[in-house]
Symmetry: C2
Subunit: 199 residues, 2 copies
Amino acid sequence: MPSALILIADGTEEMEFTIVYDTLVRAGVKVTSVLISPPSDTSRGDEAETDAAVRCSRGVRIVPDISQSQLGASSGKYDAIVIPGGLKGAETISQSSFIQVLVKSFHDSGKLVGMICAASLVAKTSRLPRQPLTSHPSVKEQLDKDFEYREDSVVTRLNRLPLPGTAFPFAFALVEKLCGAQKRSEVIGPMVFPPGTVL
Amino acid sequence: MPSALILIADGTEEMEFTIVYDTLVRAGVKVTSVLISPPSDTSRGDEAETDAAVRCSRGVRIVPDISQSQLGASSGKYDAIVIPGGLKGAETISQSSFIQVLVKSFHDSGKLVGMICAASLVAKTSRLPRQPLTSHPSVKEQLDKDFEYREDSVVTRLNRLPLPGTAFPFAFALVEKLCGAQKRSEVIGPMVFPPGTVL
């Protein structure tokens, strides 16, 4: 069973988080959400972290599965890392030195790294090499000098997308990479998209 | 500012809940999520209810805004009620006598009632009059005797849909009814859907 980490912080875009988490679970991927707190946030003790809910960008409160320190050294066993957008959440995650090291190590070992919407900022702060990339338009200016910026909905190999309008295609692209094209079709069918939907 | 209730229970489909909640907030609707507990669930004290997270159908844990008893008699001030699917959650909600009375009163006073996926069961348990309706295919047999069952993606006036593939069109239909067609366009733009997406 493939496994994936999905990061979450105060201000994460809740649709982007939930669509990816749910769709990967439907595909049989073991998904673990990880709370990333700002460095200055001393109000969250480590034990309290995973019981405390994150407040997402439009007010939905989500409880992460584990904290950053609970992830710790076990991060190497996961097959993919996915980072949702939401500007405030993406800023917190992109400024985390723990995440910068983690994303670079996933990238360098050829594992799947998925960044969506404003989360493409993490590609820059993690000092990933120059390559094709897209993002939410609001953070384009911070990225187009260091990467081959594109306006496409989906750019592999890092799979960054302007979301949440493309959250479903993004999630299905992850499913295909982790589980194959057959599984992608199996997951899409029962979700009953309207005829003509671009996925 | 229009206001909407969105119901949530253990087993609610997290994409359907989150896409509706988030999209309505983007449209300027004041959204309040309400925890519905099974009648036999004595483990949740009332005070504890809103601090405790619901475990949704694919494992995402969401903290509701208020409990059923916190809603109480104030329910009349809301303009709409929305019920997401997820079979287990929809069953809990459809069996709640509190919700059956609430939905019938919203319906009879001409307020917006939105039910998606398996949540169409609530139309039956609330004894709404015979009218056009759709649902997730898995609960069709429980509904097609009492309603004019249709296979369409969207059926008004009750706005029930087979989800989550139609969660976005459903959410935008709610926005248009609560806030007008102009607001619908304003909300869709920044969400950056791929060209050709059916909404």
